[in-house]
């Protein structure tokens, strides 16, 4: 099912949580809403589900306007951050709940509900645990029961709120891979919320980066990482270093020296230069480069990170060096970013 969010605004007691957000979700897509807390990602998810109503704007499921439909009518599978399993029901009853509460002819027989529940338990690899209660399951198992329960109603869209947020790191990674497999096997249109960029970039077909109630960028993991379109995305996704610079005559300047980067199309004036610490090239002869003194150095796994003080302003930037690179010990290092981007200073 395609989902289209059109110019949605949401206010909570006059406090705006989302400003004019639009998003097209393709059928069968696995999409991540990524952002820091307070960015509005969970609000957007709850709006799609129908747990909240938009203050302005519309939400379409396929061609149909779903904005005024109740959550029951929307037929969405929602997996809550803390699972919200019914603690007094067995695993099988939890999974069958959505079928049991149906009315009239759409309600399957008790036997059919049992059969569906055990089928879904197979899918989430928990067969044999039908009679357990949620309190007798581990966090990872509860999460999988919650997903099975949401899928039991054959939802038009599957929505997951921080699905792995409450799990420890190893279980997270396992479940992440497993969720991708389930998605590929069932083909549900799936939207999940996360604040973990690694999770979003690894798992999702497309990532929606959000900040302060707005969408900053939508794209594949590669697009988001390689061509961030705003200082926020540059800073939020992956590691980045930033330097205040000046653009003049199509050249990038730090103080009174050009640094060997040409920017013929950038507007004149103050700007911020962004680059990735690992994406730099060290140079020996500095005619057009960024040069600085090593202020701090630390070992990070297979590389070394050095903090450089640049120019008279003593701006600090971080770059990555090979562990055995002599520059790591030298007090002065010159480099040029390989890939970089300029954002005019507002």
């Amino acid at each position: 099912m395609e989902v289209r969010v059109a110019n949605v605004r949401k206010e909570f007691e006059r406090f705006p949580a989302l400003h004019d957000v639009s998003l097209d979700i393709k059928s069968g897509e696995l999409i991540a809403l990524l952002g820091p807390s307070g960015s509005g990602k969970t609000t957007l998810l709850r709006l799609i589900a129908g747990l909240e109503r938009p203050t302005k704007g519309k939400i379409f499921f396929g061609e149909e306007d779903a904005s005024q439909k109740s959550i029951q009518e929307r037929n969405v599978g929602f997996v809550f951050q803390h699972y919200a399993l019914f603690r007094h029901m067995t695993v099988a009853d939890n999974i069958g709940f959505g079928l049991k509460v149906r009315h009239g002819p759409t309600r399957p027989s008790a036997q059919e509900i049992r059969r569906r529940a055990s089928e879904l338990l197979d899918l989430v690899q928990l067969s044999g645990l039908e009679k357990r209660y949620p309190a007798q399951l581990s966090g990872g198992q509860r999460q999988r029961v919650a997903l099975a329960r949401a899928m039991a109603i054959e939802p038009a869209v599957l929505l997951l709120d921080e699905p792995f947020g409450a799990l420890d790191a190893q279980v997270r990674r396992e479940l992440r891979r497993w969720l991708r497999e389930i998605h590929d096997a069932t083909g549900h249109t799936t939207v999940f919320v996360t604040h973990d960029q690694e999770e979003a970039l690894e798992l999702a077909d497309r990532v929606v980066v959000m900040s302060q109630g707005s969408i900053e960028q939508v794209g594949t993991a590669d697009e988001i990482y390689d061509t961030p379109n705003s200082p926020f995305v540059y800073g939020f996704i992956g590691e980045s270093s930033a330097l205040p610079v000046k653009v003049e005559d199509g050249q990038v300047w730090i103080a009174d020296r050009p640094i060997g980067l040409s920017a013929p199309h950038a507007p004149q004036g103050e700007a911020t230069l962004f680059f990735r610490p690992h994406d730099v090239e060290l140079v020996d002869e500095c005619n057009g480069c960024i040069a600085g003194t090593v202020a701090a150095s630390r070992r990070v796994a297979g590389t070394r990170r050095v903090e450089l003080e640049i120019g008279g302003e003593r701006q600090r930037v971080e770059i990555e060096l090979p562990v055995n690179h002599p520059a790591a010990q030298k007090s002065r290092v010159a480099f040029r970013p390989r890939r970089w981007k300029l954002f005019p200073t507002a």
């Binding site: 959550i71 809550f80 709940f97 509460v101 690899q125 581990s138």
Partner: protein, 294 residues
């Protein structure tokens, strides 16, 4: 992919650290004081009640309990509890639901109001009804004109009992529901349940032990209430006397054995309530909100 980390969920035993435990003599003194206090003020009277009740032998005891006036008092007490407890369940669940699950203006006011019967003397609550429904009262003339009798009759007793007992269920459920939040209900709705199904299949089972606990306390108070009922009842023998009032009348008539016989029934009710309450706390302590001490 098997999950290796199936944890056991045994309740954690809180161990006291050595630093906060007292010396042996201090411990002994504290325990003796507590037990002596409880023994003199609680246990001794209870023994006296049963002792006096059976002072003239078993036949007098059963005779006292089967006299028409006593039987009518027992019947009335059961009737009042049977009306006021279900009403308070409805009221308590509604109020707790509203306070815990919705945001609305006047919520703090409602919460305070629920506690009012605890802070007001029961006699006052009785007097309020007299002022309201009595012959010279605000609604007295209108009621008389329409032939409705509230005061010095069963309706008045029921009203006074409801007033005195309505916090029990609500106070028990509010913190419990607040702690549980809306998550389970939202999950039920997202799975297609309507509001009633969500309440019946999800909310109610989640609070059932807390509810039972509240009902138990509510019932004990409903049957044992003296002050408010005394004001509105009129003490008409065989008609508007509940068990506590009947005990007083018998006692004032120097019929100690009969008075204590009826009192022993009330004491028995208290003991049963205590046992059930303890059982509930032992078994479902975690599910009953931390609002002990009514």
């Amino acid at each position: 992919m098997a999950d290796p980390e199936i944890k056991s969920y045994a309740p954690r035993q809180e161990s006291l650290s050595a630093a906060v435990t007292e010396s042996r003599p201090a411990k002994a003194v504290l325990m003796i004081v507590s037990f002596a206090f409880l023994g003199i003020f609680l246990l001794l009277p209870l023994i006296v009640v049963f002792n006096e009740a059976f002072a003239k032998g078993l036949s007098d005891y059963t005779e006292a309990l089967t006299s028409p006036d006593t039987r009518s008092a027992i019947y009335l007490t059961l009737l009042v509890a049977a009306i006021s407890v279900p009403l308070n369940i409805v009221f308590g669940v509604s109020a707790a639901w509203a306070i815990a699950k919705f945001e609305f203006k006047g919520k703090a006011f409602l919460t305070t109001l629920i506690d009012l019967p605890f802070s007001v003397s029961p006699v006052i609550s009785g007097l309020v009804y007299v002022l309201l429904f009595g012959a010279q009262g605000l609604l007295g003339a209108w009621l008389k004109a329409h032939g409705i009798v509230i005061l010095f009759a069963v309706p008045g007793i029921v009203l006074a009992t409801i007033f005195v007992t309505f916090p029990f269920v609500a106070r028990e459920l509010i913190p419990l529901m607040q702690e549980q939040g809306n998550g389970d209900e939202e999950a039920a709705l997202s799975l297609g349940a309507n509001g009633w199904q969500a309440f019946w299949y999800v909310t109610l089972p989640n609070v059932k032990w807390g509810l039972l606990y509240g009902v138990l306390l509510c019932n004990a108070r409903a049957m044992g209430e003296f002050g408010a009922v005394s004001v509105v009842s009129g003490h008409i023998r065989g008609l508007t006397n509940t068990m506590p009032l009947h005990v007083e009348i018998l006692y004032n008539e120097y019929n100690a054995a009969a008075a204590f016989a009826v009192a022993s029934l009330l004491a028995g009710l208290a003991l049963v309530t205590l046992v059930l309450k303890t059982l509930l706390e032992m078994r479902y302590g975690a599910e009953i909100a931390a609002t002990r001490g009514h």
